[in-house]
């Protein structure tokens, strides 16, 4: 038996990566339940429209504004029926797909474009480095509502066009974050060392800068996902977002508004779905921030030791 093996037996046995991940997650119970909820949402994103599309679109005038918690009609009517007698539970589950697709697509596009621009701006000391941040300023002061209306009139208001509108308005967030991080990273010693060693610009960016930049960008993206979801809901609510017969949660809230006094459940359930999803995203992003930060991770590790 060599010395090194001896030491490793004295120390606590190393857990596998996956197990560490789960124990870190379990140690923050809020984050754990948030993750479970998000998995549920994802399941309905993938399978919802496949299984329930027929039920979500079938009108049944006997079930108009049917009250919730009524078991006589079957489980599908548990949350009540909408103004055309379609079961709300099925509609909420089906609408998850559009809602998540719009937010996810917008976040992906804006993160890609924004961080590429930000990395370029951060790395160039010339005119380009001056000019690119100004793009962010102009986009930020441009009213996003006007942009949405223009797209609505010029192109048709489809899911992909709403994604484009939201993506454009969110580019500055990533651009600024990436640029600020790069400006700070590029002065660090290890970058200087890499330059001295003769590493190419490409290699420095992808091999040395990206690993530092990605965790920050991912945390921002998780938070932003929640924000974009709310923005899409607001646009759909104002009538300049997704148009029927497509459905999203925001649109469902808006469609239920005329029936507020007689059938509150029309607007209530989709709104609750929005709240729970954004709340879960916020909790998860909080957890990611702590789990990825070497200086704060002990808070979770202590908790997970207690649970062992």
């Amino acid at each position: 038996m060599s010395v090194s093996e001896n030491i490793s037996t004295i120390e606590t046995p190393k857990k596998g990566k996956i197990k560490t991940f789960f124990s870190l997650l379990w140690s923050d119970q809020f984050a754990f339940f948030a993750a479970v909820f998000l998995i549920l949402v994802l399941t309905s994103v993938i399978f919802g429209p496949m299984l329930l599309d027929y039920d979500a679109g079938r009108q049944n005038l006997r079930g108009r504004n049917a009250a919730p918690f009524d078991f006589t009609r079957g489980w599908m009517w548990f949350l009540g029926g909408d103004q055309l007698g379609r079961p709300l539970l099925a509609r909420v589950l089906v609408a998850a797909q559009n809602t998540i697709f719009v937010a996810g697509g917008a976040v992906m596009i804006s993160m890609t474009i924004g961080s590429v621009l930000g990395v370029i701006a951060g790395n160039s000391r010339g005119r380009l480095g001056q000019f690119i941040p100004r793009i962010a300023d102009v986009i930020m002061s441009f009213p996003s509502l006007l942009l949405a209306v223009i797209v609505l009139y010029m192109l048709e208001p489809s899911v992909s066009n709403i994604i484009i509108v939201l993506a454009i308005t969110r580019i500055p967030v990533y651009l600024r974050t990436a640029r600020a991080e790069i400006l700070e990273i590029r002065e660090r010693m290890f970058i200087q060392a890499a330059i001295v060693m003769g590493a190419s610009k490409f290699r420095i960016i992808f091999r040395h800068m990206m690993p530092m930049l990605l965790p920050t960008l991912l945390t921002v993206a998780t938070l932003d996902f929640a924000f974009v979801m709310l923005a899409e809901s607001s646009l759909s609510f104002l009538g300049i977002g997704i148009q029927p017969p497509d459905i999203t949660w925001g649109l469902m809230v808006s469609q239920g508004r005329p029936y507020l006094t007689t059938a509150w459940w029309l607007s209530f359930w989709p709104g609750l779905a929005i709240i729970f999803t954004t709340l879960s995203l916020n909790l998860i992003s909080n957890w990611i921030r702590i789990a990825l930060d070497p200086q704060q991770r002990w808070r979770l590790e202590i908790e997970s030791k207690k649970n062992d």
Partner: protein
């Protein structure tokens, strides 16, 4: 200092010009106001006349130069919809938005700083957990949904407050409350994390060692040093509110600038759209310069 203000003012002016050019041309892509304001069966002659009155018959570039020329003498054009100077319409609405924003911001700042500081004082304590969780809920709630639920519960169900409009004190309660929730959640998070950093500094240990009271440690020693990021996020939220709380104003029938903007975009009332964008952008730029100056007051190391 003066040079800094001048430089910032010039930079703001340039972005404002960019904005005006972009909005002027892009807003015209939404369509011809003639189709909206004249009946479908209006004769070609009356259509021509309508276009002539509002200067829409000229080429786009000529329209633009005329607009800029009038702008130089602070003439923002005329509202098609209301047949009044666009600037008057906008300023009237902006007065309401400004009041709403100031009242809400005052309450949000006060509440977020007090609760956030207390949460940071004992990290992981009972109060901290509750404050963090509720602020997260607040930051996650869609305001249109909250507004709707609040109307159902407090206006329709309990009948305590009116559903919409303005006039009495009671009309302000719901809009202010709904507008309060999201910024409160966001700012509280920033106050908390910024205060945690400040409270772990060495001078706090000194203050504790010399026996200062907890209240004075939190609100005098730590808070002043934690203020910079807090002011930044308050500024961001204030900018959002000054742009008009479109959703809240629409739902509560509040005659603010956000509702005016969305209405005039949909009504293709271009000069009102442009005027409201310029007025709000001007105030926001002004506020940003003030915030930068405030940084220097709070942190003597910052000099311009």
């Amino acid at each position: 200092m003066n040079k800094f203000i001048l430089k910032r003012a010039l930079a703001s002016l340039v972005s404002l010009l960019f904005l005006v050019v972009a909005v002027f041309f892009l807003s015209r892509l939404t369509g011809d106001p003639t189709d909206l304001y004249l009946p479908v069966d209006a004769s070609l002659a009356s259509r021509e006349q309508f276009r002539k009155i509002h200067g829409l018959d000229q080429p786009l570039m000529v329209q633009f130069f005329n607009y800029v020329r009038d702008l130089a003498v602070l003439d923002f054009g005329e509202s098609i919809r209301r047949a009044r100077p666009a600037l008057d319409v906008v300023l009237e609405a902006f007065k309401w938005t400004l009041q709403l924003a100031l009242i809400t911001l005052f309450l949000v700042t006060l509440a977020a700083i007090i609760f956030g500081s207390l949460a940071a004082f004992r990290v992981g304590g009972m109060f901290d957990r509750f404050a963090t969780f509720f602020s997260l809920i607040g930051a996650s709630a869609p305001d249109f949904w909250l507004a709707i639920v609040a109307i159902v519960v407090f206006s329709v169900g309990l009948g305590w407050v009116p559903t919409s409009g303005t006039g009495t004190m009671m009309h302000w309660i719901l809009p202010v409350t709904i507008l309060f929730i999201r910024p409160f959640g966001l700012i509280l998070q920033v106050v908390r994390s910024s205060m945690i950093t400040a409270l772990s500094a060495a001078y706090i240990k000194t203050a504790r060692a010399k026996g200062a009271k907890a209240k004075s440690i939190i609100f005098i020693h730590a808070l002043r040093n934690a203020l910079l990021p807090i002011i930044t996020v308050i500024g961001d939220q204030a900018a959002g509110m000054l742009n008009g709380a479109v959703i809240v104003e629409t739902i509560f029938g509040f005659p603010g600038v956000g509702k005016l903007m969305i209405d005039s975009i949909l009504q293709r009332d271009f000069s009102v759209v442009l005027a409201s964008i310029m007025v709000t952008a001007f105030v926001i730029f002004l506020m940003n310069i003030l915030i930068d100056l405030l940084y220097a007051v709070l942190d003597p190391r910052i000099r311009y």
